[in-house]
Symmetry: C2
Subunit: 227 residues, 2 copies
Amino acid sequence: MIELRNLRRDFQVGDQTVHALADINLRVAAGEYLAVTGPSGSGKSTLLNVLGLLDHPSGGHYLFEGRDTTTLDDQAQAELRNRRIGFVFQFFHLVPRLTARQNVELPMILAGIEPRERARRASHTLARLGMSDRVHHRPDQLSGGQRQRVAIARAVVMQPALLLADEPTGNLDQASGADVIRILEDLNQQGITLVVVTHDQSIASRAHRRVHIVDGRIDQDSGGNEG
Amino acid sequence: MIELRNLRRDFQVGDQTVHALADINLRVAAGEYLAVTGPSGSGKSTLLNVLGLLDHPSGGHYLFEGRDTTTLDDQAQAELRNRRIGFVFQFFHLVPRLTARQNVELPMILAGIEPRERARRASHTLARLGMSDRVHHRPDQLSGGQRQRVAIARAVVMQPALLLADEPTGNLDQASGADVIRILEDLNQQGITLVVVTHDQSIASRAHRRVHIVDGRIDQDSGGNEG
Ligand SMILES: Nc1ncnc2c1ncn2[C@@H]1O[C@H](COP(=O)(O)OP(=O)(O)OP(=O)(O)O)[C@@H](O)[C@H]1O
Ligand SMILES: Nc1ncnc2c1ncn2[C@@H]1O[C@H](COP(=O)(O)OP(=O)(O)OP(=O)(O)O)[C@@H](O)[C@H]1O
Ligand SMILES: [Mg+2]
Ligand SMILES: [Mg+2]
């Protein structure tokens, strides 16, 4: 489903070039459950941003379901992103003026889903994340972990083909974190491809496959279904 | 050093009142090392914001070194905050337009420390946090864990009497997190009062005392030096 070939991502800071990703080769089959680990600053979020079509490679190729994403125009990329990919950001990126529920409804509004169905799905997903009593709070009226759960709800509510989660339990206690992982794993059981960046070894050990990144390169890969 | 008496903090959301903190009674002696734990949404950040003079109680009293902070005017509170209290925010609150090093120098600029001494201290603290090669990056050019380390550097560089840290390792891998805890504990060894909010049990277990918060109340307190 995903193929990264010789993928490179550089950033320019003054006259310094940061090689955030260097020669990444990775294949992920549809339905896989992959954990991405590595030290702070190693390139995990950058990798996820490329996978989520939120960032472009500086070199190499990203094939999504066989199509070279570098050949798609902005419109086509946006469409692919909105319909096929769900993203839980490391720092959530919720819309400040919208309530928790409105934030979760947003992708459904963009997909043209009608109001009653949107409300039903948003309530259901927020309830599963223990957020029913905070649906009308805006992000600045929520705790850190509550914002994180709204971000997760927004990412999963469309049941995307590919779900990318960047440190989804970073601000959660043990119990809330376990609920989140259960929800993500349920979606994977239903066939959704799941890529989770995490610093939590207990979460990484639950994944079917582990990829460890160091200084922008894959240092270890416990092995994909495609080998 | 710190005394909270019948402390209450309410938030209003529409016609709903959220009792974020309810009847908190807590004494912390100078030099103590306290971990604050509890479920997501239980009131930990709210407690820390009150302790850091970033928020006012709705009821009850906060005595800092014997002085009732509720009787201090804004100017006096700001002065106390800048000189005596260091704060690591759950979401960092770095100044977007300043580099990592400039962000760390900011409290020293406010305290009138001269440029060469500021530069020396900033470099030293950032080096201890493994950030020497990122000193000229702005926050948007840093990874999540790198931003967190800059926030920590800024909080500790003034060697405040009271250091409040809200989930300081939430975005860090095991090794970076251990470095951070070592730095905080070194400061505590030097006499700084340390209050750390954390979801990480391995960190909470290192503290000399643990306070567990549930629904805005202290559910367990493993005991202060003052009883
Ligand atoms: N916009 C940018 N400009 C310059 N450098 C950047 C930029 N974004 C990231 N970097 C650098 O690229 C490297 C990889 O960053 P990335 O955010 O992918 O790390 P990460 O593995 O997610 O780290 P963390 O675990 O701390 O979140 C880091 O060293 C970072 O400083
Ligand atoms: N400005 C606000 N307006 C309304 N409610 C608020 C506001 N800030 C916090 N709350 C509510 O107060 C409660 C305590 O919030 P707080 O941020 O202190 O929790 P926390 O223990 O730090 O949680 P986490 O572990 O998720 O960071 C939460 O239920 C939250 O929804
Ligand atoms: Mg990251
Ligand atoms: Mg909090």
